[in-house]
């Protein structure tokens, strides 16, 4: 059932992402940076919150008046800051929720990604606690409703004293000290949230915590415009002698609050704790159907300690340690618990070059489920099937468009766990063969790699911005890159046709393969 739900969600998600791709482009597509957007909204909340704190009066009588003064008398700045504070908080809930649903749909909650999944869930509680606590401080009728309902809800927990709700019984039981405590909590909880957010991304290499500049500016402009068009306003001042009959509820944060009027609040605790617990257990409730791919292994004989795999691993699974038998040198070490077996490390290994004349090609690091030697064998076998004009070898990725569907007499296709697993020397090797005219590299759409960095690193390697570089005397014109999601089959086919037409009409001068030793040296 979980898998069916995942498939349905994935179908909707991929179509939505493709639609946004056509409007925003891959680089600015918000769906590819929901986590980064959440960080961005968090910082907007922090900056606006600091400004509000300067003017906020932490007393029962002063709180409402100070917020009103900010909203009405200083509408051009204080009012905008207040609105930004509220709307960015709401926006963060939306992006965090979408982020969670997206990772679920993509199945990125198992295996090595369990840590990120499990560490992210408690952050939801902190996020809601931080946001809901903020509404008390305004001390308007909405704050009164939130304070009363929340304390009644909290009191249903056995560990919480049942004198909590008595605090909001009448004006006589309220104190300024309480407001100071609430302000302290409204600062402390987001700080805990921030620490949790950094723990959440701790196992990710170069975790994206800042969205693309264009998108970051876009959402700020959007929030400012919203703040001016519909500024956040208070309800009437709190009055504990009068109940709040109708309340302007923030449904983004408090969508479950009406339940507290309709059922025993203890059941609401049980329900929310149950949902959280269920999500926490999801990695174990819905394990991978196929046996989990084996983690990457290091062969000390072929590892020269260059650390390129260490730099490229998107999940911080690789560390560098002293070499087993080469004094003064280092070698890579893989933490199997963190390894997703994406193969990006194998793609970065300088010894993973097919030009080497060895009986069995073994690279310094590779994944046992798909060793480099097998990749060479399969690629060579595929080449042998090509015939006709403008013959192209296409390398693709298991998580993007299934490229087997584009195979024809003149097009051979080979899918890898991740396109980042393809060493640039392989592209060179294939491009130099006599029975092929060009090489096309495809994979997850730009900006959104299933394994985070595979397509990005490949682009950088091809552009000589990241080691190992693509150096080919066969000519870069013989190599084409086209990223395509599962719904972009037509686009890939069109790009492939264009590429083949170019290859057919503009014969490209290729070089003869250099001696094996020379080539191997070049790629080291």
């Amino acid at each position: 059932m979980i898998r069916k739900l995942q498939q349905v969600m994935l179908g909707v998600l991929v179509r939505t992402e493709a639609a946004f791709d056509s409007v925003f482009g891959a680089h600015w597509n918000p769906w590819y940076q929901l986590g980064a957007l959440s960080f961005h909204f968090f910082w907007i909340v922090v900056v606006s919150g600091v400004y509000l704190y300067v003017f906020f009066d932490t007393s029962i009588l002063g709180a409402y008046a100070s917020v009103q003064a900010l909203t009405e008398e200083q509408w051009y700045l204080g009012g905008v800051m207040r609105s930004l504070h509220r709307y960015a908080s709401d926006a963060m809930v939306v992006t965090v929720t979408l982020h969670l649903l997206r990772e679920f749909a993509k199945g990125r909650f198992r295996g090595a990604q369990t840590f990120s999944w499990v560490s992210g869930l408690p952050l939801l509680w902190l996020l809601f606690a931080a946001g809901i606590g903020g509404y008390w401080l305004v001390w308007d009728q909405f704050g009164q409703y939130v304070a009363q309902t929340t304390t009644e809800w909290l009191e249903r927990l056995p560990a919480i004293s049942d004198s909590l709700a008595r605090t909001f019984l009448s004006d006589a039981t309220l104190s300024d000290r309480l407001f100071s405590l609430l302000v302290f909590m409204h600062i402390a909880i987001p700080l805990f949230l921030l620490v949790g957010m950094f723990i959440h991304v701790n196992r990710l290499k170069l975790a994206r915590t800042q969205p693309a500049n264009g998108l970051a500016i876009g959402v700020v402009v959007m929030l400012v415009v919203l703040s001016l068009v519909k500024p956040a306003r208070s309800m009437g001042p709190a009055d504990l002698k009068t109940a709040v009959a109708s309340v302007d509820l923030d449904w983004v944060y408090m969508n479950f609050y009406p339940l507290l009027d309709r059922m025993d609040p203890l059941y609401v605790w049980i329900m929310l704790a149950g949902i959280t617990g269920l999500l926490m257990l999801l990695p174990w409730l819905s394990p991978q159907q196929a046996p989990a791919p084996q983690a990457a292994v290091v062969d000390p004989n072929n590892c020269n300690g260059c650390s390129w795999c260490f730099q490229d691993c998107p999940y911080e699974a690789i560390t560098m340690i002293p070499h087993e038998f080469r004094k003064g040198q280092r070698q890579a070490r893989v933490d199997p618990d963190r390894c997703t077996a994406c193969g990006i490390c194998a793609g970065s290994c300088p010894s993973a070059t097919p030009f080497r004349h060895v009986e069995e090609l073994v690279s310094g690091i590779e994944i046992p489920g798909y060793p480099i030697d097998r990749l060479r064998e399969e690629a060579v076998a595929k080449l042998a099937t090509l015939s006709g004009e403008a013959r192209v070898m296409v390398f693709g990725c298991d998580h993007a468009l299934p490229i087997a569907q584009i195979e024809t007499a003149g097009v051979a296709a080979l899918s890898l766990p991740c396109i980042g697993m393809l060493p640039p020397s392989f592209v060179d090797y294939i491009a130099r063969q006599d029975n092929v005219d060009g090489v096309m590299v495809s994979g997850c759409c730009s900006g959104d790699c299933f394994y985070r960095k595979g397509n990005h690193w490949t682009e950088e390697r091809f552009a000589s911005r990241r080691m190992p570089h693509l150096r080919t005397s066969a000519g870069h014109d013989k190599v084409e890159v086209c990223w395509a999601s599962v719904f972009q089959g037509e686009m890939l086919a069109a790009e492939l046709d264009k590429f083949r037409a170019r290859l057919a009409h503009e014969p490209i001068a290729g070089g003869t393969p250099p001696p094996a030793g020379e080539a191997a040296h070049e790629h080291h």
Partner: protein, 169 residues
């Protein structure tokens, strides 16, 4: 500006506008009716220690001699306190009838409670009664009051432990 660029700008503008409209609307709409318009609210809340459940036993000199010098209290008094029994009636109908247990592992703490009930606005007859010992056959603490509650009025009923009487705030 070519058509593609124009289409992309319009699409981005629409996406931002939709997102802004979503959070702008749901951040305070639609209004939620927390309390029906013709109702008032009664908050019944108290903190009170029930009476001790056992009698103090006087220790004789032999018993005292067996005790360490610092613990020779002349009487051995049990700590456990009685639960409270609380009944609230509105217009003759029992709305709440609860036993409130004392706090603490040894049940020697105060019993405290907070309940919120909605009652129809207008004239109401309120009756609150409480027992603080199981041996009591009648309710020693009781108050009955006829009041007119306006819609959304909050009436707090508390118990003044010092003067041993209910208060309407």
């Amino acid at each position: 500006m070519n058509t593609t660029r124009l289409r992309r700008c319009a699409g981005q503008g629409a996406a931002y506008a939709l997102f802004a409209a979503f959070i702008g609307y749901f951040s305070n709409s639609p209004a939620y009716q927390h309390l029906p318009p013709d109702q008032a609210m009664v908050k019944l809340s108290l903190r009170h220690s029930g009476q001790l459940l056992g009698e103090c036993q006087q220790r004789d000199p032999e018993e005292l001699a067996k005790l360490p010098a610092t613990m020779r209290a002349p009487a051995d008094c049990p700590r456990e306190r009685s639960p409270l029994e609380l009944v609230l009636e509105v217009n003759g109908e029992t709305i709440l009838d609860e036993q409130i247990m004392p706090r603490g592992l040894h049940k020697d703490g105060m019993a405290s409670m907070y309940r919120r009930v909605n009652v129809p606005s207008g004239p109401v007859m309120l009756k609150v009664r409480m027992k603080d010992h199981p041996g009591q056959t009648e309710f020693p603490y009781s108050v009955e009051r006829e009041m007119t509650l306006r819609p959304a009025q909050v009436l707090v009923i508390d118990f003044d432990s010092q003067n041993r009487r209910f208060e309407f705030l």
